[in-house]
């Protein structure tokens, strides 16, 4: 029989992977903690921390706790899903299927973006409830667009983490060591410009750095980030994300070749 590996079947594979991610999420109640309970806690703590810090304290609270809830779900989750495939022994049959593994990873990343946004929404609702009203946002529509775009940039880095998990079973170690450096280094916690200058060029290699700077520009009047404004930040984020997307296929092809050479696909 003839089976297509056309774009249509690749899209189907991404859809199947998204569906599987949802099924696995629903089937595993422990996910309620990072998706719902943790954002509630982060939201309340953040609200108390920033209470009384000027007119935009609610925005600070939402951005701080929101990023804390979302970055792990989106970025860490993308690599973790591939690590799970290794643990379950499903990486081997998945790689053995005719669809390139990248399309499977994309499905999971889409789900992780959605789950991350859900965490962000929970934080928003918690802070709004605690404050008794919504935050002051100079441009709410742009805020929402950039908020979603931040997730896309986090997902683009998630692809790299997923590739690392295909490459080696030790990727979890690298991810565990690097996660907080990444969290701080890309400005999830506070603006990158507050860090020593030598860290800034490195931070700009990662799409979320640009997107988060843009998000702060549009949501906090008077914010002094990299200094070139949210428009250039957005352009930079799109460009760097584009580079990540462009090299993703090559990265996965090379990583797959490497694991077929080493023969450690079933190791966990």
């Amino acid at each position: 029989m003839t089976l297509a590996t056309s774009e249509a079947s690749r899209t189907r594979a991404t859809g199947a992977s998204l569906r599987l991610a949802i099924l696995l999420f629903v089937a595993d109640p422990q996910w309620l903690v990072p998706s719902t309970v943790a954002p509630i806690v982060f939201g309340l703590v953040s609200f108390e921390l920033f209470r009384g810090e000027g007119p935009y304290f609610l925005t600070y609270a939402i951005l701080g706790a929101g990023m804390m809830s979302m970055w792990g779900q989106t970025l860490y989750g993308s690599g973790w899903a591939t690590g799970q495939d290794r643990n379950l022994g499903t990486l081997e049959p998945t790689i053995q299927a005719p669809t390139p593994y990248l399309y499977v990873v994309l499905g999971r990343i889409i789900w992780n973006v959605v789950a991350g946004l859900f965490g962000g929404l929970v934080v928003y609702l918690v802070v709004v409830l605690a404050a008794g009203g919504p935050p002051q946002l100079p441009n709410p529509l742009l805020f929402v667009v950039l908020f979603v775009f931040v997730m896309v940039t986090l997902a683009s880095v998630g692809v790299v983490f997923a590739a690392a998990f295909v490459y080696s079973r030790y990727a979890g170690f690298i991810q565990n060591v690097g996660e907080f450096a990444f969290y701080i280094g890309t400005g999830c916690m506070f603006p990158v410009v507050l860090l020593p200058f030598w860290t800034n060029p490195i931070a700009l290699l990662f799409p979320p750095t640009w997107a988060l700077d843009a998000l702060r520009y549009v949501s906090i009047p008077g914010y002094a980030g990299f200094g070139w404004g949210w428009g250039w930040d957005l352009a930079g984020a799109v460009a760097v994300t584009g580079v990540y997307a462009a090299i993703a296929g090559t990265v996965f092809t090379r990583v797959e070749r490497h694991v077929l050479e080493t023969g450690d696909l079933s190791d966990y």
Partner: protein, 327 residues
Amino acid sequence: MNDDLAIEVRDLVRTFESRKGFFFGEKTHTEALKGVELNVGRGAIFGLLGPNGAGKTTLTKILSTLLLPTSGTVQVLGHDVVKDTSWLRSRIGLVLGGERGLYNRINARENLRYFADLYGIPASERDRRITEVIERVDLTWAADRRVEEYSRGMKQKLHIARGILHRPEILFLDEPTIGLDPKSARETRKLVRSLVVEGVTIFLTTHYMFEAEELCPRVAVLSKGKIVANDSIAGLRSRVGGDRTIEVEAYGFEDREIDRLKGLPGVSKVAGEAFGPLMRLTLRVRTDDTTPETVQGLLPGHPELSVRERRTSLEDIYLDLVEEEAQ
């Protein structure tokens, strides 16, 4: 490549590199396959036998595009496994079996649906195909249960269902009946035979000699990374010295008695093995001239003597070949 061949392997070498020691600084190389040559015809069941660590799984993974050869050429269905990976993957089924390799938190139907989509099975056919393979492996009653509730045997059946879901032209089965109860194992063998009738080529690795004997018209024995025999079972019988085996048991034998047995007409080999105080001599016999009665007549003075004849089994052949290779 000959069109009648499903698999053609030439001088296949596969080396694994591993690292150990302080900061993994010390490299070691293990040669798992050492110049394997193999032809497998289309539309038949081919058995690959070998002791643990012989390289069976390595060879199966190379043939099914999950591992790259270090050197040599490997063609499956007329296509190179290194260059035409994508083309081959949609036409190959692989059943590695075991407890792993399935999404345990979802049910069998959902597991199959996921892989059906990865294999690009048309959406209009997908559900029907899933129901069909679930029925073929006799899992209909448990199809909507989570896989984590499955026994090892049920998981094995689900692995098989996944392997045949996309109707592959060639199916690689690595120990397909391991963990199955006798009834399920028999049904699996029946399923394998029915797939061959449908034109599927089966490449089977197994430790169960009776299974290979029952299913495979032709088998190869892999030992220490080399094919030490590749023939029909009748051919292998003749190679190891006859299709009749006479077993003689007593409380020890003298050397001159063993020499006398070796000199009997048609006896190609006499091997001894101790079982506590008992000693068993196994005679491979090529002709009908030597019978249990002849043997009994040559061994007077053993009131406890027991002599019986049986057909030389594939297990006998296999053990002879592996032993030969070890020497």
